[in-house]
Structure formats: structure tokens, C-alpha cells
């Protein structure tokens, strides 16, 4: 029983977070690319802002990944 939980907990930690982050990143990249195609002159600034925003979203997934690794290391 304990082993089942040790397998399930990291999986259930990382999967919903990854789905949520995928939706957030979709929104960010959609808006950024739309802006770049409308105003190619502003593309470098938008690209930089997009990378930073994606990094901030990604950090949350990374926190969950670290927690999942810490739980998984106890198997």
C-alpha cells in the first residue's frame, strides 16, 4: 500500500501542474506571437518579455518537480 502511494504522489503532483502550466504557456505564446505578427518592429522586446513570463510560469512546475523528486527518492 505504501509503495502505491509513493508512486502515485509524485505522479499526481507533477501531472496537474504540467497541464495548468501548458494552458498558461499557451496563453502567453499565443498573445506574444500575435503581437509580433502585428508589430514586427516590437518583436525583440516582446520576445524578451515572453521568455521571462514563461520562465516565471515554468518555475512553479519546477517547484513541483523538485517536490516529486524528493518524494520519489524515498522509494
Amino acid at each position: 500500500m505504501k509503495e502505491i502511494f509513493l508512486v502515485l504522489v509524485p505522479t499526481l503532483t507533477i501531472v496537474p501542474t504540467a497541464i495548468a502550466a501548458a494552458f498558461a504557456m499557451r496563453k502567453i505564446s499565443y498573445t506574444a506571437i500575435e503581437g509580433m505578427t502585428r508589430q514586427p518592429e516590437a518583436a525583440p522586446q516582446l520576445f524578451t518579455a515572453m521568455i521571462v513570463a514563461m520562465a516565471l510560469v515554468e518555475a512553479l512546475v519546477i517547484y513541483c518537480l523538485v517536490i516529486a523528486l524528493m518524494v520519489a527518492a524515498k522509494i
Partner: protein
């Protein structure tokens, strides 16, 4: 983080000598960068640059532009700081592509290595801000306008180090697991995909460090000057677009 070395044939040795391997690989990267720097500066510079000089000048100009956007007087201090962080992390990540035992372990795929880099970035930010706003200004920035800025510094260290570790270490772990399951062919694809975060993560690290630096050296007078110098293109573009009626 014991599970990082799952499936590695050298996992016992790696676990035992982990700190030495990280230090050795960091030193190797530093030596390579010093040699590259000497090669890049001790050659005849042409008016019409050849490809190597072109790449070097492009990289230099990018950092100088970032540094100028942060503080107009700070090019000689800020640009080398950002550039050395970027190149050091980039070359550390690229060690994963070298197929030589022990050297192929990127030091940024262990939390000790990334925590060191994040500490350097955040403390370096504070020390550089001393040069521009003075020691009292730098200390004041930690408590004013919000006393929780000190806590923000700690969370900056955590987020910078965990982001780099998660990306590079996670990719390294995926490669190790895939190699265990399918030793031929498929790991090449994973390695190639791993080159993307290896280039993106140093960029993110440097951009976030420069954002922290811009906050730390920020004074109202200087900020107004920078705004008038750098931001017109965006509004000008918007107005120009409206004028054409498209």
C-alpha cells in the same frame, strides 16, 4: 536528490565524488572560457569581421545594450557581470553534449552547482548596486519601501537556482532513463531536444538577474532618463500604425 543518478553505470562513484566532479567541471568550464577569451582578444580585429569576430561582436553588443538599458554609466561593470554569468552557465550546460565519462555530467544538473550560481547572481547584484546608489542606498533597498524585500532576496535565490536545476537536471535525468530503456538511436533525439533548454536557461537566468539589477540600481531621476532614451520606439510604432489606418 539521489534519484538523479538512477540508471547511471557510474552512479556509486558519482555519488561518492559528487562535489569533486562539480568543482572539476566548473573549473574546466572556467579554463575553457579563459582560453576562448584570450583567443578572441589576441587576434587581429578586422573592419569587415570574419564569422568568429562577428559572433563575438554580436554577443558583446547584446550585453552592452542590456547594461545601458539598466544604467547608462554602468556598461563597464554590468555588461561583464551579465556576460560571464551567461557564458559560464551556457558552457556548463553544454558539457552534457560532450561524450566523455564524468566530464559529460553538467555541474548545473546538481543543486549545489546552481545554488552557487544563484548566490553569486543575487549577492553580485547587491554589491554592484553599492557602486551606483551607495552602501546606504543598497541597504535601504533591502527594507524600503517594503520591509519584505529581504525575504524577496531569499526567494530570488531559491527561484533562480531551482529553475536552472529543474531544467538541466530534469533533462539529464530523462536522458539517463531513456538510455537505460533504449540505448541506441533514441537518446540522440532527446540530447538534441536538450540543447534547447541549454541555450534558453542561461538567457532566462541573465534576463532575471538584469531585472533584479535594474530594481536595485533604480533611482527616480535615473529611471526617467532611461525611459526617455529607450522606450520611444514602442509608442512611436503604435502611433505610426494608427496613422496609416491599418
Amino acid at each position: 536528490m539521489a534519484s538523479i543518478t538512477v540508471g547511471d553505470p557510474l552512479s556509486e562513484i558519482v555519488q561518492h565524488y559528487l562535489s569533486y566532479i562539480i568543482i572539476f567541471n566548473f573549473t574546466l568550464v572556467a579554463v575553457v572560457l579563459v582560453v576562448l577569451g584570450i583567443v578572441a582578444t589576441h587576434r587581429k580585429l578586422e573592419d569587415v569581421p570574419d564569422p568568429i569576430q562577428n559572433v563575438a561582436e554580436f554577443a558583446l553588443e547584446w550585453f552592452v545594450r542590456r547594461a545601458k538599458a539598466i544604467h547608462p554609466d554602468g556598461v563597464t561593470v554590468i555588461a561583464p557581470f551579465l556576460a560571464s554569468l551567461f557564458l559560464f552557465i551556457l558552457f556548463s550546460n553544454l558539457l552534457a553534449a560532450v561524450s566523455f565519462p564524468l566530464i559529460r555530467i553538467p555541474p548545473t544538473s546538481y543543486y549545489g552547482g546552481t545554488l552557487t550560481l544563484a548566490l553569486i547572481a543575487v549577492f553580485g547584484t547587491t554589491f554592484i548596486s553599492v557602486k551606483f546608489v551607495g552602501a546606504l542606498g543598497a541597504i535601504k533597498h533591502l527594507f524600503w519601501p517594503n520591509p519584505l524585500q529581504l525575504v524577496t532576496k531569499i526567494s530570488d535565490i531559491l527561484s533562480l537556482s531551482l529553475r536552472l536545476f529543474g531544467n538541466i537536471g530534469g533533462e539529464f535525468l530523462v536522458v539517463l532513463l531513456v538510455v537505460k530503456a533504449a540505448p541506441y538511436g533514441i537518446p540522440l533525439v532527446i540530447h538534441t531536444l536538450g540543447l534547447i533548454p541549454a541555450f534558453i536557461q542561461p538567457l532566462v537566468f541573465t534576463l532575471l538577474t538584469s531585472n533584479f539589477l535594474a530594481e536595485a540600481v533604480h533611482t527616480d531621476k535615473k529611471k526617467a532618463e532611461v525611459d526617455t532614451q529607450t522606450s520611444p520606439p514602442f509608442s512611436a510604432v503604435a502611433e505610426g500604425k494608427g496613422a496609416h489606418g491599418s
